[in-house]
Amino acid sequence: MTMLLEVSGVSVTFDGFRAINNLSFNIGKAEMRAIIGPNGAGKTTFMDIVTGKTRPDEGKVLWGDKSISLIRMSEAQIARAGVGRKFQRPTVFEDQNVFDNLLLALKKNRSPFSVLTYKKSGEDVTKVEALATEIGLRDQLGRKSGELSHGQKQWLEIGMLLAQDPQLLLVDEPAAGMTHEEREHTTSLLVEAAKTRAVVVVEHDMEFVRRLNCKVTVLHEGSVLAEGSLDHVTANQQVIDVYLGR
């Protein structure tokens, strides 16, 4: 299988502290992957590197069939190339309503001049409405997103990710602070998305990871400690020592 994203030998140092240490990580085109690991393991930093927020000191980050290097590209260019990202704490535009948030994310020409002359087409409205239905916010389209509950904001952010129509979704702790039912809805959203694209989920909650039913990568001190099925990695003594057994 050809890989969608190939990270190899990447290291990052913050003020002498090695947050990512010779990390290698691959993901295929329509694959779901969970990343687990203790606090400070470098999970968020890994996403920062892939999305262009942090430049690695060394290593390669290659993308797509043509193996383009993402390292020299800006955040916006990487996003346009097809990498979508959901942040650890929900970040939606609270001052704007749900519809505008989704419309902003909808895959369209992003240049200032074409946005300036953009006219909402019926097709786009239909797309936004379909997305809103999918994330369970169909009735909330006109509401300011700042008024939404925590769980709804998380879904809106996932909806915005889907609206971008990326080939790779990087999702940082989507279930944090959610109730049990909300988690189930989130799981089904992600599983559905992974049918047509790659999805990488960072999560601490083992129940949640189990329901995703996918390959798991364990990070520790900036590199991969174990990889495989959830049962396989949770049986690993090192993983128990540094993470599960805390």
Binding site: A76, F93, Q96, D100, V125, Q164
Partner: protein, 410 residues
Amino acid sequence: MRRESFFARNPSVVVFLLCLAAFTLVVSVMSEGAGAGLISTSFIKTLGKTLCLCLVAVAMDLVWGYTGILSLGHFAFFGLGGYMVGMWLMYQRTHDIVAASMANATIPPTEQEIVDAIGTQIFGVVGSSEFPPVWAFADSLVIQLALVVLIPGLLALVFGWLAFRSRVTGVYLSILTQAMTLALSLYLFQNDSGLRGNNGLSGLQNLPGVEASQAVVSIWFLWASALALGLGYLLAAWVVSGKFGSVIRGIRDDEARVRFLGYSVEGYKLFIFVLTAVIAGIAGALYYPQAGIINPAEVAPIASIYLAVWVAIGGRGRLYGAVIGAAFVSLVSTWFTGGQVPSVNLGFYRIDWVEWWQVILGLSFVLVTLFAPKGIGGLFDLLAGRIVPNRHGADYGPDKGSFQEAEGRE
């Protein structure tokens, strides 16, 4: 989510334009120029200048209130617009005077002699008679008018490109813009800057080749300023109403998130910075012929800070708030600093309003920032007591009556 016309979606724009038209009409009819004489020519000029300040405030709101870039340098663009038009006004008028006085000479003067005489007239005060290179196009109205737009636009483009590309934001950007306007004003203060140093350009109220009296000319400028404000407001409202407005408000609230959506934040910031610089330049070009004089003190750093204060007091993030703030504060300021307000004698201390006005202004800025972040514009929402209707972010209240009120108080 149905498609409606721009005006149906933004009723406040219609209300604003109607108020502006009514205001201009009423003031014109009552003016000296129209024969009624209820409003003096000098006050017509004050009102016309106020409209220009409202226009630059709209630009400030666009760049700060909507995009979140606290530029404290937009008066540099305003001043440059004034200088560009001022050069033609001064050159052409001096040309007419010089040509007229030389016409009686026995030997008709050559074109070169006229130009030399103009040079002596204009640059005598700075001990020179040569035309500096920046005056190369001063004899062409068309080119100077183009420069009103081009020079501020170009400065904003270069400055913005450098600043935004290196991701300078927040306080650092504000300081950088202050440095820009300070540098410009210091440069202009020099005699060899070619723009008459601290003398600036004067006599700008006289339109070359126009016979009409100042009373009539002041009405023309009032109209031109009102037209520019109306068009500028319309343009700004259009820019912020659609998806573009959604993007720039997103940049204001969380620029990193906008980046990860694939928008080039720097490009958008640059676009808004240049657009507002151009609007500021046009506002300045209309302002200074009404003021009659422009000098480097006009682009001193404090001027741009005042601009931010007006917009804060009026209520940023809503265009009519900027207009109300600029109109209200600048008119009250004219009143206080004009020396007409009697001083208050407390026995042990005399409150002299010309100085104390600054303190009041500073205090109200602090109070508004702390207790009424929506400014005066926010008061109208309270008064109207209306529940925010279910529509897209930008269009706020229907009421723009305040503008008239602020004017009417004078």
